[in-house]
């Protein structure tokens, strides 16, 4: 297998994608830091730590747990405890909540929030694919299977952002059409929301 093909199907690629998306979400939500108030730097640092923890969790999942019966010294037990915590703590949830909180600290900016929502969805999907250890090509299959739902979700996201931006867009014909489209999208979403 050539290096390029290996990289394409490698789980490291998915883990790197998840980490970059997470870091991007936090940076996108935090910018500009000055507008977020005094809590923003602390929240940014915490969210960044959660992104790092998430990458660590993906790596820790690949480490086989030690078998019973053998006595490990203090460094070994500390490493085991740290690995256990790394596996158990909800790092991706922390990143999600941190990014949303950072976005909330800023004044309303609908399209900015919509991009953040799409990026957060991508981050969660990438994390899921990386931790599932999906075989070669299975990641694409998973995404293809959920494509309809994802497209509908992104459509709703755009419509929600659009409706949030409506007051500034005025109350003309465009606004009316957007409301109609939102209603149609809501109906479609309701249909899709039924268990399949």
């Amino acid at each position: 297998m050539s290096g390029r093909v290996w990289w394409r199907h490698s789980l490291i690629r998915l883990a790197a994608a998840a980490g970059l998306l997470g870091a991007g979400c936090v940076a996108w939500a935090a910018a500009p830091v000055s507008a977020g108030g005094p809590v923003a730097p602390l929240l940014t640092a915490l969210s960044a730590a959660c992104v790092a923890g998430g990458i660590g969790q993906l790596a820790a999942d690949r480490v086989p747990p030690p078998g019973p019966g053998s006595y490990r010294g203090m460094p070994g037990r500390l490493a085991g405890w740290a690995l256990l915590r790394l596996r158990q703590l909800p790092w991706a949830e922390g990143t999600t909540l941190g990014a949303l909180a950072l976005e909330l600290l800023h004044p309303a900016r609908p399209w900015h929030t919509a991009v953040l929502g799409a990026a957060l969805t991508g981050y969660l999907l990438a994390t899921h694919l990386a931790e599932s250890g999906t075989a070669r090509g299975a990641a694409t299959a998973v995404l293809r299977g959920q494509a309809a739902v994802l497209v509908a979700g992104l459509g709703l996201l755009v419509l929600a952002a659009g409706s949030a931006a409506l007051p500034s867009a005025g109350t003309g014909a465009a606004g009316a059409w957007l409301r109609v489209a939102a209603a149609v999208a809501a109906v479609l979403a309701g249909g899709l929301a039924l268990p399949v």
Binding site: L100, L116, L124, T127, H128, A189
Partner: protein, 440 residues
């Protein structure tokens, strides 16, 4: 089977000593269903986005939650409450370091993906496996046994996941038992005694006989076979000369393993080393069609009377496993039983030479006229402590060890040292190059 003596034979198949489990019948196991990590993350995004939207009146946050909400909407409500599981092993008897696999058959999982996570017991190492594709009923989980013994493989956690990995149901299943025999060391050469019993075998004896080894030439006497006439010698001497050959005999070998003392260090365990050496010796002598007996010594003796063939090797291997869990403190052992020691047998003793009682037993055996060869398997020595007294104690320990070895040599019992790493042939080379003379 031999008549059980006072110590009891270490033979396989003794009561209450079942063999390894090949497999178990299918059993229905209830599943406990939970959200996956992926579902929990999506739920966090959905609830946080919708909550912020409602509280702050900013609809764009509801939009950010929309993809997560729709992905969660694919939640499948029809899930099996239980699954049928049957676990077996691809190989239930193996040698240290060999691989086997748990073959798990899952029924009633529907279209759910099945993953099996092995929770290995002591000395079992799980090897990476692949989850079964959805709908496939059989899952194989490879593992390796790292140390000899009779033990359970551990338990398996069977996880069922729906198509989008939003919910996972899991259950635990106990796995069968496995018998792992010690990995034999390398031994190709054999120690052969000068006096061999009159039984056909593969060792060249000193006595003339019908073997393949050329012995010499002598004058023809009536009754000699015509085909053994040596025509060149006859021509030279002018009288009929015949070739003589040496007899080929087998010998009785008794392998005694001292498991009374255990010592673990960086190089490993002395009991493991002794058993691996004993397994190698048993294999080497059985391959030469010798009768091989086996005695384990742990303050009392458990024995197998000498036997022939591959079946005897597995009897010996089973006996090695049996001694693993049978600790007794009967100190009344002074003479090994006669039934376990055929007259004129070669006795190979694998021991760390730590127990004075075993040394007395060896002295007794030597006095009974047996040819005894001790293979010392003690690789290290106790760690040196700090201080004068610790150094003094270590010196005394060394001197005691030297005294034991010296007293054995004085009795005519050769001691060969084997570290467990190199081939046994190297350690036994001084005794395998020529026959070992048995003196009374």
């Amino acid at each position: 089977m031999p008549d059980p003596g006072p110590g009891g034979p270490a033979a396989s198949g003794s009561p209450g000593e079942p063999g390894p489990d090949a497999g178990a019948p299918a059993a229905n196991k209830p599943l406990s269903w939970n959200l996956t990590r992926h579902a929990r993350r999506l739920l966090t995004l959905a609830l946080a986005g919708l909550g912020i939207a409602v509280v702050t009146g900013r609809p764009e946050f509801a939009g950010a939650a929309a993809p997560a909400v729709l992905l969660l909407a694919t939640w499948h409500r029809r899930r099996p409450a239980q699954v049928g599981l049957a676990a077996g092993l691809t190989a239930s008897r193996m040698i240290e370091g060999e691989r086997s696999a748990v073959a798990l058959s899952v029924s009633g999982a529907g279209a759910h993906e099945v993953q099996v996570v092995l929770h290995p017991a002591h000395a079992i190492a799980a090897l990476p496996g692949r989850p079964a594709p959805p709908g496939q009923a059989a899952v194989s989980v490879p593992f390796m046994v790292t140390r000899w013994g009779r033990r359970r493989v551990g338990s398996a956690r069977v996880i069922l996941r729906d198509r989008w990995r939003l919910a996972e149901g899991s259950t635990e299943l106990g796995l069968p038992r496995v018998d792992c025999y010690p990995r034999p060391a390398t031994q190709r050469t054999r120690v052969v005694l000068s006096r061999l019993p009159t039984r056909l075998g593969e060792h060249t004896a000193r006595a003339p006989g019908e073997g393949a080894e050329f012995g010499g030439v002598r004058e023809y006497v009536p009754g000699d076979r015509q085909r053994s006439i040596n025509w060149p010698a006859t021509t030279r001497r002018g009288r009929l000369q015949v070739n003589t050959f040496q007899a080929e005999r087998s010998q009785d070998v008794v392998i005694l393993v001292d498991t009374a003392w255990e010592s673990q260090d960086a190089t490993g365990s002395v009991v493991d080393t002794a058993l691996r050496g004993a397994a190698a010796a048993a294999q080497a002598y059985l391959n030469a069609r010798d009768r091989v007996g086996f005695i384990t010594y742990r303050y009392r003796a458990r024995w197998l009377v000498p036997g022939l063939g591959q079946r005897q090797y597995y009897r010996i291997a089973e006996a090695m496993l049996a001694q693993d869990r049978d600790w007794t403190s009967d100190t009344g052992f002074s003479r090994l039983p006669r039934v376990a020691l055929p007259p004129g047998a070669l006795i190979l003793v694998f021991t760390p030479l730590m127990d004075q009682r075993l040394v007395e037993t060896l002295r007794d055996l030597r006095q009974r006229g047996f040819a005894v060869l001790v293979i010392d398997v003690l690789a290290g020595e106790p760690p040196a402590g700090r201080g004068r007294y610790a150094r003094l104690a270590q010196r005394m320990w060394r001197m005691e060890q030297q005294a034991i070895r010296f007293s054995l040599r004085e009795l005519g019992i050769p001691v060969a040292h084997w570290d467990g790493e190199q081939s046994l042939d190297l350690s036994l080379a001084p005794y395998t190059r020529r026959v070992m003379v048995t003196r009374r």
